[in-house]
């Protein structure tokens, strides 16, 4: 065969053919490369909706345009019709159900009003309606700080980003009435760019730091619980971090068990309030849902909050996370039965059995605590001294902290029945110790008779025994809801 040089020299057409062939091959290769690039770009963009809102967009409807399924399931948290044996999605007046709570919280806002909150969509409405936030108007401030808004709204991440945590907490509750108007929503848990879960509340980050853990190096599965733990935890307001600010802190420095948190408070000499009847330095357990869950069997097997409370759902052939956050008792087939292949009635019976048995002992402790408070009140009346009362009041503090820890959590008796049972048992022994010492003290003060309790059989009677003027509180609240709240909404709408 002749060299190419020769062929081309003798036949110029062959040169052109060679040239064109190369052009075609390179052209096709380019097309192939381009196709691969296109499909790789698809992988990046196909699963990322076009987003045109800011990092902390408070309005969930805006996010919802890109995530219609998640958003519409999230809207179902407005539902108030579900009722289980002890809880549900509607407002339940707990003081009506357990009037003695008004005595246990005498001198603390919870004795005025404690209604079981509704779904996330009602967060703003519920905090405006509760008597605990008071009736601020004109020069009368709310008794509570802005810190109370922290867990109520998707406006909060933006406000904290702009003003810092302490800046956001500063001032009384009515100051941000017109700024915080969106209920809990997308921005609270999601990164606007990647939709990854994110922590927006500084208190949780700070609590992790205090424990020496890094919240940025947790797994996705842990995040599916930690976004809930931004709010569903025990907390208190520390007034010594920033002057004039009630700073939100989770008491986790020593750990997250009841005793570790108690030690934290004791070391700090902290009390939420001084009891109105017994003058004991009380602790109010908020809702240590996450902490109690951590001690349970589901947590130790790596089940997250979202696994049961936001189970997967299939609609139109698409599987996604149900954002109707609710009791698993209303989604048993998708929550429990994914792992437990048993009859629904059997599973429900298991839950109720735990709740019934825990409640049995919780009521015993509740009754003992009511007696503790009135007996301590009588001891003061009979002339007991501070020194004589100190130990007794400490027992009352510890016993009620245990009762509240068990009672305030939304699902404690199911999340961790053994731990909750243990807590109540140790509370009973402490209340018994307090009452034993009280009866000795009363005897030494010359009173050996049973302390007679006032009638606290209904919410009204208990509240008046706790020294509350409910008529006035209700009237003021009605005026507030009629005059101040519409003004807030108007201002928020103008922005």
């Amino acid at each position: 065969m002749k060299p190419v040089k020769e062929i081309v020299k003798n036949n110029p057409l062959a040169g052109w053919v060679l040239f064109l062939l190369t052009v075609v091959v390179v052209f096709l290769l380019g097309m192939l490369a381009s196709s691969i690039i296109e499909r790789r770009a698809e992988a990046v963009f196909a699963y990322t909706p076009l987003l045109s809102f800011s990092e902390n967009e408070p309005n969930s409807r805006v996010w919802g345009e890109a995530f219609p399924r998640e958003y519409s399931s999230f809207l179902r948290t407005t539902d108030t019709t579900f009722r289980s044996r002890y809880n549900g999605s509607g407002l339940i007046d707990m003081l009506e159900e357990y009037p003695s709570m008004a005595i246990l919280w005498a001198g603390y806002p919870f004795s005025k009003d404690y209604r079981q909150g509704r779904g996330h969509q009602h967060a703003i409405e519920d905090i405006r309606n509760t008597l605990r936030t008071g009736a601020p108007s004109g020069d009368t401030p709310s008794p509570l700080p802005n810190t109370c808004w922290t867990c109520k709204s998707s406006n909060v991440p933006g406000l904290i980003a702009a003003e810092g945590a302490a800046g956001f907490y500063r001032g009384t509750w009515e100051k941000r009435g017109a700024q915080v108007t969106q209920p809990i929503g997308c921005a609270d848990c999601h990164d606007s760019r990647t939709m990854n879960l994110r922590i927006t509340r500084p208190a949780l980050k700070e609590a992790f730091e205090a424990m020496g853990r890094d919240i940025n190096s947790v797994s996705h599965q842990e995040m599916r619980s930690l976004v809930c733990a931004q709010c569903h935890v025990e907390y208190y307001f520390n007034k010594n971090i920033t002057p004039d600010v009630q700073y939100l802190v989770f008491p986790w420095k020593n750990g997250t068990t009841l005793e570790e948190m108690e030690k934290y408070y004791d070391d700090l000499g902290f009390s939420d309030w001084t009891h109105g009847i017994s003058r004991a330095p009380m602790l109010k357990a908020q809702h240590p849902d996450f902490e109690v869950y951590l001690t349970g069997t589901h947590a130790s097997r790596g089940v997250s909050c979202a696994d049961c409370h936001m189970p997967f759902i299939s609609e139109g052939g698409q599987k996604f996370t149900d954002h109707h956050i609710q009791s698993s008792l209303n989604s048993i087939s998708r929550s429990c039965q994914v792992c437990h292949r048993e009859e629904t009635s059997r599973l429900v019976a298991d839950v109720y059995q735990r709740q019934d048995k825990i409640l049995e002992n919780r009521k015993i402790l509740e009754d003992m605590l009511v007696k503790c408070h009135f007996e301590a009140g009588t001891a003061w009346e009979k002339g007991a001294t501070e020194a004589q009362m100190k130990e007794i009041l400490n027992y009352i503090r510890k016993a009620q902290w245990r009762w509240d820890f068990a009672a305030a959590g939304h699902g404690n008796s199911f999340h961790s029945p053994v731990e909750t049972g243990r807590i109540i048992a140790s509370g009973i022994s402490m209340a018994a110790e307090a009452r034993l010492r009280l009866s000795r003290l009363l005897a030494s003060l010359g009173s050996n008779n049973e302390v007679l309790l006032p009638d606290i059989s209904t919410k009204e009677k208990a509240q008046s025994a706790a020294g509350l003027n409910m008529k006035k509180l209700n009237e003021e609240k009605a005026v507030f809801l009629k005059t101040v709240v519409p003004e807030w909404d108007k201002q928020a709408g103008q922005k």
Partner: protein, 198 residues
């Protein structure tokens, strides 16, 4: 005899440049398609094509995640040549269909693939079906043992019932990220999209 093709001396430089362009483009195609990844067994290779995301996600959430990768079930393991022959045959067909955008909305396994899977079920779970206590001689041995495949009954193992391309839109799957180096795509200091995908 084929003589060594060599360009006229005056054309040498242009030809070197032209073949450089050709080779560069070919190398670029290999890089952009992650060609070398296809030699290994890493499951992430299978989501080089994003339409495999539902299959990856369902496997990832199954018990098989702990012991198997995609190739353990989906290519033959009787000998190494057959493994790579099958891989090449299947892979080229997948690549062609994917490039032509001819993929169906719901992907079903083909006969050859199903046969390979069946053999691989047996390869690992042999003890389950040869346990002497379970061996009986009966008239239905052919119809109920030999003619059926494991997945006739174990339909949800391991990919569940989810199989359409759009079935799990937000599944956390390690899809290939931008092929650009970080200093070029401006993501140098930004959070990686992949973060949290564990």
């Amino acid at each position: 005899m084929l003589e060594k093709p060599s360009p006229p001396s005056g054309w040498k430089i242009p030809v070197i440049i032209a073949s450089g362009i050709f080779t560069g483009l070919a190398l670029f195609s290999l890089y952009i398609s992650r060609a070398t990844s296809y030699l290994g067994d890493n499951p992430e290779t299978c989501v080089n094509c994003h339409i495999m995301a539902p299959q990856y996600a369902t496997w990832y959430h199954s018990a098989h995640r702990g012991k198997t990768n995609c190739n353990d079930c989906h290519v033959p393991h009787n000998n190494v040549f057959n493994k790579y022959f099958f891989k090449a045959k299947d892979g080229l067909r997948h690549a062609t269909i994917f490039s032509l955008r001819k993929e169906p909305q719901v992907i079903f396994i083909k006969e050859a693939g199903a046969a390979a899977v069946q053999k691989n079920c047996i390869r690992c779970h042999k003890d389950l079906i040869t346990d002497s206590r379970l061996l009986t001689v009966n008239t239905e041995i052919v119809s109920s043992r030999m003619e059926r495949s494991c997945t006739d009954c174990h339909r949800e193992t391991p990919h569940g019932r989810v199989n359409s391309l759009s079935a799990v839109p937000w599944a956390r799957v390690p899809l290939p990220e931008s092929p650009l180096p970080h200093w070029l795509n401006g993501e140098k200091n930004k959070r990686s999209r992949k973060q949290n995908r564990n």
